[in-house]
Structures are given as structure tokens and as C-alpha cells.
């Protein structure tokens, strides 16, 4: 485990020395504060806008940070030749990948929680409150971050950084829509049996990331999600995270350097 911790620590040190993430952080903070300057006559609508705009950008920026911190980790280590002296030592490829994953997760979560804190302070300043549903929102977004980072890491072990980045962003952009589209396709009458089986299989296999988004509930101050509903969703996200990590490790183990 100490090998994993050291690889993770290196990811943290690397990104604390880079400027990219600070820029994203300040842009996000700026978005939150600029939202405050939007004046709408209807107070109820204004409250919704003040909650809606930052909540729209928060997952985008967080997941972008997750993708940015992980997509080139493996390939850059190969390209910069830093991987060879490391893997010549008694450290496994699995420990290496897990360390990279955890490093990226920690950076992204720090980014998310600091932004969430700003968001909460901003709303309090404007006399608006956030209910417990916001905590549930953050829990589900955290699981979604695990999932996208694990997916990006998995793709990065066999794709170039550019391809990995593109696939990860596409996954992030369309993954919420794919289950809906597939479910609509399954309703089409007279579907060829082979197509039907294929669509149903894909529907079952792919992660349904739409279930992690409860931003509407936060905006409209809905009742908190019961624990018996939250836990299975968290478990579902963690299951896919582990699947991607396992597949990534397996492919990386087979990969020749």
C-alpha cells in the first residue's frame, strides 16, 4: 500500500506544481460570483438561477479536472521514460495504476469540495440555504468522479493521450443520454431479434451515469433522497469503478513497454 501512496503523492506534487488546475479553479469561482450579478425581477426565479448556473458548471469543471489529471498519466510516464526506472523496482503495475487513480481522485475531490464550499458561502451571502439534498448531490457527484477517472485511466492504458481525452469527454457528454436512447430503441415495434438482444445487452452492460445527477432536486429543494436509494446508487457506481480499474490493470499488466 505504501507504494500506492507514494505514486499517489507524486500525482499530487505534480499537479500542485502545474498551473492548469488553478486556472480552472478561478474560472469556476468567477462563474459563481458572476451569477450573483444576474438580476431577475421574480425573486423565486432569481433563487433558482443562482442555484442552477453554478450547479450546471460544477460537475463539468470537476469532471474536466478528473479527466485532465488522469488522461496522460500512463502515456507521459512512458514517453518521458520515467516509468522504466520505477518498474525495474519491486512495484507492481497494479500499484502504479491504483496510485495514479487515487492521486487524480484526491485532486478532483479537493477541487469539488472547495468549489462546493464557495457555492454554499455564496448562497448564504445571498440569503439562500442548501438542504441535505445538496450533500446527497455531492456524494453522487463524488461517485461519478470515481467512475469517469477509472474509465479514463482504463482507456489511457491502450490509447494515445489525445484519443483518451476525446473518448473520456465524449463519455462524459453522452453517457447520460445513451441509456435514454437505448430505452427508446427498445420500445420500437418489430425490432429485429438480433438488434433487440444487442440493444438490451448494451443497455445492461453500460453504466447509467444519469442516475448520479440530482441537480434538479437541489434547485427545487426536494426532500432528501432516502438512504435505501442512495446506497445502491453509490454501490452501482463503485462497482463500475472497480470494473474499469480491474480491466485497466489487466490490460496494463499484459502491455509490453
Amino acid at each position: 500500500m505504501k507504494n500506492v501512496c507514494y505514486v499517489m503523492r507524486n500525482v499530487l506534487l505534480e499537479y500542485s506544481a502545474k498551473k492548469d488546475l488553478y486556472v480552472l479553479f478561478f474560472v469556476m469561482v468567477l462563474v459563481i460570483f458572476l451569477t450573483g450579478y444576474l438580476t431577475v425581477f421574480n425573486l423565486d426565479t432569481e433563487a433558482k438561477i443562482l442555484k442552477d448556473i453554478p450547479l450546471f458548471f460544477m460537475p463539468i469543471f470537476s469532471l474536466l479536472v478528473g479527466v485532465l489529471t488522469i488522461y496522460g498519466q500512463v502515456n507521459n510516464e512512458i514517453k518521458n521514460r520515467t516509468l522504466y526506472p520505477l518498474l525495474a523496482k519491486p512495484i507492481s503495475k497494479a500499484e502504479f495504476l491504483l496510485g495514479k487513480f487515487l492521486g487524480s481522485v484526491i485532486i478532483t475531490l479537493v477541487f469539488l469540495y472547495v468549489i462546493a464550499l464557495f457555492y454554499w458561502l455564496f448562497l448564504s451571502f445571498r440569503g439562500l440555504s442548501l438542504d441535505i439534498i445538496f450533500v446527497h448531490y455531492l456524494i453522487l457527484l463524488t461517485v461519478r468522479i470515481f467512475l469517469i477517472i477509472a474509465f479514463t485511466l482504463f482507456v489511457s492504458v491502450f490509447m494515445t493521450p489525445a484519443a483518451t481525452f476525446t473518448i473520456a469527454i465524449l463519455f462524459f457528454l453522452i453517457s447520460d443520454e445513451i441509456p435514454h436512447t437505448l430505452s427508446e430503441l427498445m420500445q420500437v415495434p418489430d425490432l429485429h431479434p438480433v438488434s433487440d438482444i444487442l440493444i438490451r445487452s448494451v443497455y445492461l452492460i453500460i453504466p447509467h451515469t444519469d442516475i448520479f445527477d440530482i441537480s434538479r432536486a437541489v434547485i427545487h429543494n426536494w426532500e432528501p433522497v432516502p438512504t435505501h436509494l442512495i446506497l445502491p446508487i453509490v454501490a452501482y457506481g463503485l462497482f463500475f469503478t472497480l470494473v474499469f480499474l480491474f480491466l485497466g490493470t489487466w490490460i496494463f499488466h499484459k502491455k509490453e513497454l
Binding site: K2, N3, Y6, R9, N10, L13, E14, A17, N80, R81, T82, Y84, P85, L86, L87, A88, K89, P90, I91, S92, E256, L257
Partner: protein
């Protein structure tokens, strides 16, 4: 005693359509040997080293390093490796880097700290312990590379072109370090295409070209092989003679150069062509001043071996 490195019929290619990069390579390296792994660029040296470290698998044959398969923890625990291009994490300091690597070997605490400081002292980098690696020159990175390779006091040291790109002082330091490690009875396996570097520190040479092991033996054995070189000194018009040699296709078998005294020295690597060369000399109206066997250098022996293989 079991060999430290054992390669048996090792073959590796990267495409089914091309010639294997390493072909049926068999060799054993014993404890305490300093083996220079020589070969021109593209000979298969780095591929062999990658297989010894478990980064690549052979398609045929078997490899054992310190009696273990190369990818196992037990093997890596006792290996020190210096890659061809020494690149390390730019955002770390040498201290942080060595601490990270030391942790992989289960070293910790004050013991690891002592080790790090002593190694940085050995490679003359003590003053840069807490400087970021991103500011280091190539030579400084190479020294850090050496420190990390020695961190676990390895039984086997694998060095891939350790002096490549270094200035003469850097090369000398590497040479001295290899000698120091050899004195400690470490087994050293290092690849190079710099013959001078190998000549001074190795007690065994292995020459690889186009994936095939062409020579495996001591320096003396290699020099003996070179006895077949015939040295001929003539007085003639250099451009005219060179032209004639080129026309007859002997260029590959004869190395010729003009001395400051305007004489032409020729090294003939193939005895069978001796009379053909004499005919050319006659035709060029050259005056033969000397003919005799030559006790050549390691460099000449190396060229001869490579040349013979290419002609085959």
C-alpha cells in the same frame, strides 16, 4: 554457482514480417562478471535489456535473472537499473525521488535517509539534495540515475548505454563508478556502442548485431580474433587507388587511410581477397612498402566481426 543472468534461445520480434530483433540468444553471466554488451545501433541491445527487466517477454526461449523470472519481485529486489536516457520526475528533488524509490524496496526512516545522503555524496550531488530535478543538466540527471540504480545495493547492475550523451568528465565518472562496483563483486551488465568505454572496464564482451550474438568472450579472445587483419603500406596516388578499390567492390573489406607522410595504410579484413588487392595495387602502380599481420585494437576486431556477419 547458479548464473546471475541466464538467456536460453531467446527470440523476440516486433512484427511477423520482419527479422527478429533478437534471435536465438543464449548466454550466461556469472557472479562478479563485468559484461560489455556491444553492438551497433539497432542490434537488439535495448530489447535484450528490456527482456532482462521483464518489460518485454521473449516469444521463444527462457530468461532467468538471479534464478527468478525477470518480472518477479524477488528478481527486482536485487537489480539496479540505469536506463539509456535518464529522465526522472521533474517536480521532485533528488531526496524525494530516492525516498520514493527507496520505499519500493521497503527501506524507511533514518536508515533510508542515511542511504540517500551517502549515495548523493557518492555521485557528487550532495549540494543539490533539495533542488528540483527540472533544473538539472543531462549529466546531473545521469548521476541521479546512478544513485537510484545503487539504492538497493544490487547484486546485478544493468546499465543501458550509461555514458551516452555525456561529456568526457561524465564518461570518466561513469567508468570509475563501474570499476568501483566491480571491486565490490557486483555483476555488471552494460550495453554500449562506445568501444573505448567497454575496453577499459569489462572482463567479458558480448557482441550483438542484427539480433545475433556474434562473439562472447574475453577482451584477449577478441583481440586474438583480429590477428587475421593484414596491414599493407603502399606509396600511391590516394584518390586513384580509392577509386579502383571502389570499382572492384573491395571497399567493404579494406579500410584505408592516408598518413601525414603521404603513404597509404590499408587494413585488409578478408584474407581471401589478398591477391585481388595486390592486382589492384599493381594496376594503380602502387609501391608496396610493408605487408604483415596486425595485432589490432578491440575496435578493429569489433568492426571485423560486424563486417563478416553483414557479408554472410
Amino acid at each position: 554457482m547458479r548464473p546471475v543472468i541466464e538467456l536460453k534461445d531467446v527470440t523476440r520480434s516486433f512484427s511477423s514480417r520482419t527479422k527478429p530483433v533478437v534471435s536465438d540468444l543464449t548466454m550466461k553471466v556469472k557472479e562478479g562478471e563485468v559484461v560489455g554488451f556491444l553492438g551497433p545501433n539497432g542490434a537488439g541491445k535495448t530489447t535484450t535489456i528490456k527482456m532482462l527487466l521483464g518489460f518485454l517477454s521473449p516469444q521463444k526461449g527462457a530468461i532467468k535473472v538471479l534464478s527468478h523470472p525477470p518480472y518477479t519481485r524477488s528478481a527486482r529486489q536485487q537489480i539496479g537499473f540505469l536506463p539509456e536516457t535518464s529522465e526522472y520526475y521533474w517536480f521532485l528533488t533528488p531526496y524525494q525521488l530516492l525516498k520514493f524509490y527507496g520505499t519500493c524496496f521497503d527501506f524507511r526512516g533514518k536508515n533510508l535517509d542515511r542511504k540517500i545522503h551517502s549515495l548523493l555524496e557518492t555521485v557528487n550531488m550532495r549540494d543539490y539534495t533539495h533542488e528540483k530535478i527540472k533544473n538539472f543538466s543531462k549529466g546531473m540527471k545521469q548521476r541521479i540515475g546512478i544513485a537510484q540504480a545503487l539504492l538497493n545495493n544490487p547484486r546485478l547492475l544493468i546499465l543501458d548505454e550509461p555514458a551516452s550523451g555525456l561529456d568526457p568528465i561524465g564518461r570518466k565518472e561513469i567508468r570509475e563508478l563501474i570499476e568501483k562496483c566491480a571491486e565490490q563483486n557486483k555483476t555488471i551488465f552494460f550495453s554500449s556502442h562506445e568501444l573505448g568505454e567497454v575496453e577499459t572496464v569489462c572482463n567479458r564482451l558480448a557482441i550483438l548485431s542484427e539480433g545475433e550474438l556474434l562473439f562472447d568472450g574475453s577482451l584477449e579472445d577478441l583481440k586474438l580474433k583480429n590477428k587475421q587483419v593484414t596491414k599493407i603500406i603502399v606509396k600511391a596516388d590516394f584518390p586513384a587507388l580509392l577509386k579502383k578499390i571502389r570499382e572492384t567492390g573491395l571497399r567493404e573489406k579494406v579500410k584505408l587511410y592516408e598518413t601525414p607522410e603521404k603513404l597509404i595504410e590499408m587494413d585488409l579484413y578478408d584474407h581471401k581477397c589478398f591477391y585481388d588487392l595486390i592486382d589492384i595495387l599493381k594496376a594503380a602502380h602502387a609501391r608496396v612498402l610493408y605487408v604483415g599481420d596486425k595485432q589490432g585494437s578491440v575496435e578493429e576486431a569489433f568492426f571485423q566481426i560486424i563486417h563478416e556477419q553483414r557479408n554472410v
